[in-house]
């Protein structure tokens, strides 16, 4: 009676041990990132979300307040945090809408031009890429001088005395120009690599069929680098949602808070000169994060479905 039972047990152990064998190789590659990601990204995000449900000044213990912070910034119209949040989010969206198209189109055009390998194209490539290497403070100092009312070369060239950083719509124009100039290099390099990968045969075939340059650009070039465009659109959008340095240093959020973006309020509430209001700041940050996720998802679905 005992023998068959033993055989079954043996088989079962064998099966179990086979199941338990894990292929560790992928984990080797993933682990370092996973550890760092969890420690410096996942844990702080989860903690941040927790703080958004509390009232906390970064000292002592946070008091749990439930959804009060969200209610206040989203619906309580008589609160100045409501005004802050709505104005900041609106301005952030305006900045994204204004800057993202230029941050995609201009580098793409420059990359296409360089791809035609004109004379000195290496030199131009370096010149276009260089601003990306500067820190935002250096960029802002350069452009503050450029846009200066009296001594700035831009006003001198135009023969006008436009108050670039202190009046609208010029303040937005200034921010977009500076942002595009600063960020051209990053996207341009990606497009250049993509353009290099398009087989020459396509263009030769199009030439035989009598296609002109514009037709070739829209019918061959663009579809061939759709993947890279999707990537840059999503990455650039996320980057522009997180805009902070340019409005902080160039316009200081002015005139009359019209370029004050949400991150400036988040930073000031959490780490300003006064007592920290970390709960409200975290709630604002969490909603901004949600907005970024939703917009990225829409872009992703929209661009992928057309494939």
């Amino acid at each position: 009676m005992e023998a068959p039972v033993k055989v079954i047990e043996k088989k079962a152990t064998f099966k179990r041990s086979k199941k338990r064998t894990v292929n560790w190789t992928p984990w080797v590659f993933v682990t370092p990132h996973l550890v760092i990601f969890s420690l410096f990204f996942l844990v702080p995000i989860l903690y941040g979300i927790y703080i958004s449900f509390t009232s906390w000044d970064l000292v002592g213990k946070p008091d749990f307040v439930g959804l009060a912070n969200y209610k206040e910034i989203l619906w309580q119209k008589d609160s100045s945090f409501y005004t802050q949040f709505h104005n900041g989010l609106k301005n952030t969206f305006i900045f994204v809408l204004l800057s993202v198209p230029s941050c995609i189109i201009i580098p793409l055009l420059l990359a296409s031009a360089l791809n035609a390998k004109p004379r000195f194209h290496k030199l131009f490539q370096s010149i276009f890429y260089m601003p990306t290497l500067f820190s935002i403070s250096a960029v802002v100092i350069i452009w503050t001088l450029m846009f200066n009312v009296n001594q700035g070369p831009i006003n001198n060239l135009l023969g006008k005395s436009i108050l670039w950083t202190g009046s609208q719509p010029y303040a937005w124009a200034t921010l977009v120009i500076v942002t595009v100039w600063w960020g051209i290099g990053g996207n341009m390099i990606i497009y250049q690599a993509a353009l290099n990968g398009i087989p020459k045969d396509y263009y030769e075939a199009a030439d035989v069929d009598g296609a002109n340059a514009i037709q070739k650009f829209f019918k061959i070039t663009l579809p061939s680098i759709r993947g890279q465009i999707l990537y840059t659109v999503v990455i650039t959008t996320i980057a522009q949602f997180n805009v902070y340095g340019q409005p902080l240093m160039l316009t200081a959020g002015g005139p009359t808070d019209s370029t004050r973006v949400l991150l400036m309020d988040i930073q000031q509430n959490a780490f300003g000169s006064g007592q920290s209001i970390a709960g409200i700041a975290s709630a604002m940050a969490f909603i901004l994060g949600l907005c970024i996720m939703v917009v990225s998802l829409i872009q992703f679905l929209f661009l992928r479905n057309r494939d």
Binding site: T31, D57, G254, S273, Q275, I277
Partner: protein, 420 residues
């Protein structure tokens, strides 16, 4: 291969965790014979502070000072984190006077009382009063002042002679005198008055009008006639073209010799030394010639000890020894353009010749220095810094802006749990 992989993964994990979780051996950790001293002097004044610390360390004290200068914003963020964790809290720190009430109410500061009897010279009589009284809270001493720094006014001597002769006879330039000079100088394309950092300028004028930031110590009072009148003065001067235009850099105008009066802090003096003309330093613009009504906005850097379990009584005495030494050796700090709070500085002939010394030499001038030590001064600064220029340049109506500031202050203060 799999075994090798497992070993590699374990090593990576351990290394990563060790790097993050291990006891920091970075610049902030303190050894038992060292006093870790944080200060916000990351600019040129950091060099002067470093010299002072080096000088002190040369005297072979029982506890040497480890000088760590941090950017102001970073330092104030960091102190909250280390104070929460209780690890690597600096033994000694410099903070701005206006923050001390808030830290005290949050129970973050250690009192000096216990150690003061060993250092009898650290006492009220030896310090500038306005700066000294900041550290006196609930009958205990929580800070000792290093300096008192004020917002004053620089003037181009040649231009004053030409457009405002006699305005400086009493060392007070009134707004009326500035207005008259600016109106005269316009024809020669010389600007009368620079629009610079409006916060101290506004607060000086607000106090001259009899305005207070708070009546009861908690609730803000800024949406009132005194504040309106203070801003209105500047709005009018701007409209009359007495001031520089929006977008013009008053510092450049002054350095080019195209600006008569340039209101700024005494700390700016070192930046102006390259000016190719004679310039002087006087009180901030005033409403009246009456010296007893003068107000010069001031702030003060103060030594404090944040609560720390790692700081022994012996070490705390070492901290006091350094603070006491600074009281006696603050000439180097005056060279940074500051006014040391220790009155002993008045005995130094070299200090007597320094431009900023006029504020301390005369007791009437001393009495004009006003620190706005409202607990929520940080919020007031944020609001004034964000809105003042828009008000002066006419982009934001003064009444609406002040109402917004008042509302914003009330909402921020309502979040403070320490009041409840």
């Amino acid at each position: 291969m799999r075994k090798l992989g497992l070993v590699f993964m374990t090593i990576m994990l351990v290394a990563a965790l060790a790097a993050c979780g291990g006891k920091s051996s970075g610049s902030n950790s303190s050894s038992s014979k060292e006093i870790v001293f944080w200060n916000p002097f990351a600019g040129p004044d950091g060099q002067n502070m470093k010299k002072m610390v080096d000088e002190y360390n040369k005297t072979n004290p029982k506890y040497k000072i480890k000088n760590i200068s941090l950017k102001e914003g970073d330092m104030y963020k960091k102190i909250q984190t280390v104070e929460n964790s209780g690890k690597n809290v600096p033994d000694l720190m410099i903070v701005h006077a206006e923050r001390i009430k808030l830290y005290h109410d949050n129970k973050m500061l250690t009192s000096f009382d216990k150690y003061l009897k060993d250092y009898p010279e650290i006492k009220a009589e030896n310090y500038m009063q306005e700066a000294w009284k900041i550290g006196d809270l609930d009958g205990s001493r929580y800070s000792v002042p290093l300096d008192i720094h004020s917002s004053v006014m620089y003037y181009n001597k040649d231009l004053v002679e030409k457009y405002a002769p006699g305005a400086l006879d009493d060392n007070i330039v009134t707004y009326d005198e500035i207005e008259a000079a600016g109106e005269k100088s316009q024809k020669d394309k010389i600007t009368g008055l620079g629009i610079t950092w409006m916060k101290p300028i506004f607060l000086s004028l607000y106090a001259q009008n009899g305005g207070k930031l708070t009546e009861n110590g908690t609730d803000p009072t800024i949406h009132n006639d005194q504040a309106k009148a203070a801003f209105q003065k500047w709005i009018d001067l701007y409209k009359e073209h007495v001031t520089n235009k929006d977008g013009e850099d008053p510092l450049q105008l002054f350095l080019q010799g195209k600006l008569i009066f340039y209101p700024e802090g005494i700390w700016m003096n070192n930046n102006l030394k390259d000016a190719k003309f004679d310039y002087g330093l006087t009180n901030a613009p005033q409403l009246s010639n009456d010296k007893s009504k003068m107000v010069n906005w001031s702030s003060s850097h103060q030594f404090v000890m944040f609560n720390s379990k790692e700081r022994t009584d012996e070490k705390a005495k070492g901290v006091l020894a350094f603070v006491d030494w600074v009281r006696d050796h603050s000439l180097e700090w005056a060279k940074a353009g500051q006014n040391p709070a220790s009155l002993k500085i008045l005995d130094e002939p070299e200090y007597q010749k320094m431009a900023q010394s006029f504020l301390l030499k005369d007791p009437v001038e001393q009495a004009s220095l006003k620190i706005f030590d409202y607990k929520y001064n940080g919020y007031v600064s944020e609001e004034l810094d964000a809105k003042s220029l828009d008000i002066v340049f006419g982009k934001n109506p003064v009444d609406k802006a002040l109402a917004d500031i008042q509302k914003s202050l009330e909402d921020k203060i309502s979040k403070d749990n320490t009041n409840k």
